[in-house]
């Protein structure tokens, strides 16, 4: 019996030994996707039940805590600005000249009716800081060999308590993601494509998000220009900048 158990343990450990360390993979993903700060323009195509809409914006982020977004298109949204500092979010509406503060739980609401939440859009969390990772297998996604990595959040307050990533073995970026609630419910799914090498890092220029809890055909998030580690003046992340 003891021999049988020993063989079983050995075979399990040898199976996992074929896979790389989860933390190492997260570290490489963070090196590709995260940066001290970044500036990018984006186009969000929201496919609703009736129509599709396009929203364009420009975003400045610094670390995990600071983010500023200005909407450029359509005309109704032009000039709307959002500032996120830690877990507080302010939205400036030019038509009403009002700065509205959004409470913490509201950060998980949909942005402009899309499949993205404010947290999805404005946060640049380094995975290594928030999740424990285990590689559970290998599969092909879009014709590319990937590691299947399961992530579990350290912090019970994280929006997504579990993640499942299909990470490109060669380029170390996820090509597919599934986001889970604590209960195990699948909340969102995303597919990352148009991967480009930008300043030595691999970066997906197109992400299709699908909120699994709402109707609609999903939201395409297409990144235009992106600059990593560009100098961003501190005033960008101030409330005074909302009304400028």
């Amino acid at each position: 019996m003891k021999l049988l158990l020993a063989i079983l343990c050995l075979s399990i450990s040898s199976a996992y030994a074929q896979y790389p360390d989860g933390k190492e993979i997260l570290k490489k993903i963070d090196q590709n996707l995260s940066s001290d700060n970044r500036i990018f323009t984006s186009k969000m195509i929201i496919h609703g039940r009736r129509t599709s809409r396009t929203i364009e914006s420009k975003t400045w982020t610094a670390g995990e805590k600071k983010s500023f977004t200005e909407y450029l298109f359509p005309a109704r949204e032009q000039g709307t600005k959002m500032l996120k500092l830690d877990d507080q979010l302010w939205i400036y509406s030019p038509s009403t000249d009002r700065t509205i503060q959004i409470a913490g739980h509201m950060l998980r609401q949909s942005v402009m009716g899309s499949d993205l939440s404010y947290e999805d859009l404005m946060e640049d969390n380094r995975l290594l800081n928030h999740y424990n990772a285990v590689v559970t297998g290998a599969e092909n996604v879009a014709g590319r060999p990937c590691w299947v990595v399961k992530l579990t959040a350290f912090d019970p307050n994280m929006a997504y308590q579990g993640l499942k990533l299909w990470v490109d073995k060669e380029r170390n970026i996820p090509l597919k993601e599934e986001m889970y609630a604590k209960s195990g419910t699948l909340l969102k799914r995303s597919e990352l494509s148009n991967v480009e090498n930008i300043n030595g890092r691999w970066y997906p220029k197109k992400i299709v998000f699908k909120d699994m809890l709402k109707d609609g055909e999903g939201t395409e998030f297409i990144i235009g220009n992106i600059q990593f580690n560009a100098a961003i003046p501190e005033y960008v992340f101030s409330k005074a900048n909302l009304k400028k």
Binding site: I46, G48, R49, R50, T51, R53, I55, R76, E77, T80, W90, I91, S93, S95, T96, D97, R98, T99, I100, Q101, A103, S110, V111, M112, G113, S114, K239
Partner: protein, 424 residues
């Protein structure tokens, strides 16, 4: 003989007083409960019809499937032309467009930043078109407790409770944060014209009322409406009329394959009101049946006690030659007299209480704090023609049945034993 029996009942109060009191109390309770229940159910149905359901309501099928979420992204497009068609095709109904929406009320401080926020349910209704009956239909004029009705676009009414929580007064500016028809964030400024109390917890917790044109602008719903309500010109819900109109409309307009095609639903198909209407008649039947049964049992027992007390009297009457059937018949006549007078007294007493509840009602606001359907907080009775006889007939019947049951004992008396019993 009736006069003879009547005198007997008056002179021997032991024979009549207890059954009379029992019948009167029972009838009174039936009258009060019936009128109260009728009032509560009627008020609830009318409140719901005027505020949310209409007697019939037109929506898109997709909207109807998610009605609780007020999904204005699934609203009726070109609602104005559909309303014109409805007015032409079904002139027996008044047709009104409404936008029902949810959102946040955000109150700015002096620097324009958020001072307070609260959840709100809003109604976009026609406030300004000359001849619009919406203000009176929703009893808004009488509901204003501070300030005044909106006079121009951009002005709203807000529930007094929400205004008080957020320290708002007439003249203050608030921002509505909601979603546009296309899912974008909507932020729109309004000026508070007045505060209102509707007398129903669901609405008083946090309602705002704005002109539908303002709401269309705020939620980017030009030409669209979430709902088109149809209210019968009869002034009350007529189940047959509503069902016929809904069937006729759905035959012409509804396309099951298209989730955005319009569908008409009657009041009975919304907010579980169908169950309320159906159960109300069942409840009334059960109420009368329980009363009849309970009173019969009580009066049967009262009759048995009376029978014991009058054991000697019946024995004497049988001994001197009165037929058992005649004794039984006189008891029945007595019971009819008691039943009639008891019922009359019960109806009179019940009507006094019913009138009181009809005028002043019973305030159950404390029990309605978490209500999720529109119901008045002051529950008022309603006296209808049925109220006058709902307790009267069961009152007489219960006395009659009780006496018939207890009087059976007369037929068990052995004539041969009577004198021995009397001697004893």
């Amino acid at each position: 003989m009736i006069r003879f029996l009547f005198k007997g009942l008056i002179r021997d109060k032991h024979r009549s007083l207890l059954p009379l009191i029992v019948v009167a109390l029972g009838v009174m309770l039936t009258v009060v409960f019936h009128s109260w229940l009728t009032g509560v159910i009627s008020d609830s149905i009318e409140y719901n019809a005027r505020f949310t359901t209409g007697h019939v309501k037109v929506m898109t099928m997709a909207y109807a499937d998610n009605l609780d979420q007020m999904p204005n992204d699934l609203a009726l497009l070109n609602a104005d032309s559909l309303t014109v068609a409805l007015k032409k095709q079904f002139p027996g109904m008044e047709w009104v467009e409404r936008i029902h929406f949810a959102g946040l009320v955000d109150v700015p401080d002096r620097s324009g930043e958020t001072r307070a926020q609260g959840n709100t349910i809003g109604f976009g209704i026609d406030l300004f078109t000359p001849g619009s009956a919406e203000i009176d239909r929703m009893n808004i004029r009488k509901s204003v407790v501070e300030g005044r009705l909106p006079k121009q676009n951009g002005e709203i009414l807000i529930s007094n409770e929400l205004a008080s929580d957020m320290k708002l007064k007439p003249g203050d500016t608030i921002s509505l944060i909601s979603s546009t028809m296309y899912g974008e964030m909507a932020i729109y400024n309004f000026t508070v014209a007045g505060t209102v109390v509707f007398g129903t917890s669901f609405l008083d917790r946090g309602t705002i009322i704005a002109d539908i044109a303002d709401v269309r602008q705020a939620l980017n719903m030009e030409g669209a409406s979430g709902e088109i309500l149809g209210l019968s010109q009869k002034g009350y819900f007529d189940k047959n009329e509503a069902t016929e109109i809904a069937a006729a409309f759905n035959r012409n307009y509804n396309k099951p394959a298209d989730e955005f095609s319009p569908v008409m639903k009657t009041l009975m198909e919304q907010n579980n009101l169908g169950a309320l209407v159906d159960y109300s008649s069942v409840i009334l039947t059960v109420l009368v049946a329980v009363f009849l049964l309970a009173m019969s049992i009580v009066l049967w027992n009262a009759g048995l006690l009376g029978g014991l007390r009058r054991y000697g009297e019946f024995g004497m009457r049988l001994a001197i030659g009165e037929e058992k059937g005649h004794v039984y018949k006189t008891m029945i006549y007595e019971s009819l007299l008691i039943g009639t007078f008891g019922s009359l007294a019960g109806v009179a007493l019940g009507m006094v209480f019913a009138w009181y509840f009809q005028h002043y009602g019973l305030n159950l606001k404390g029990m309605m704090q978490n209500a999720t359907i529109i119901m008045p907080t002051v529950f008022k009775a309603r006296i209808t023609p049925v109220t006058w006889f709902i307790g009267f007939i069961p009152g007489i019947l219960s006395t009659l049945i009780g006496t018939m049951l207890s009087g059976i004992g007369i037929y068990k008396r052995q004539t041969a034993q009577l004198f021995k019993e009397l001697e004893a």
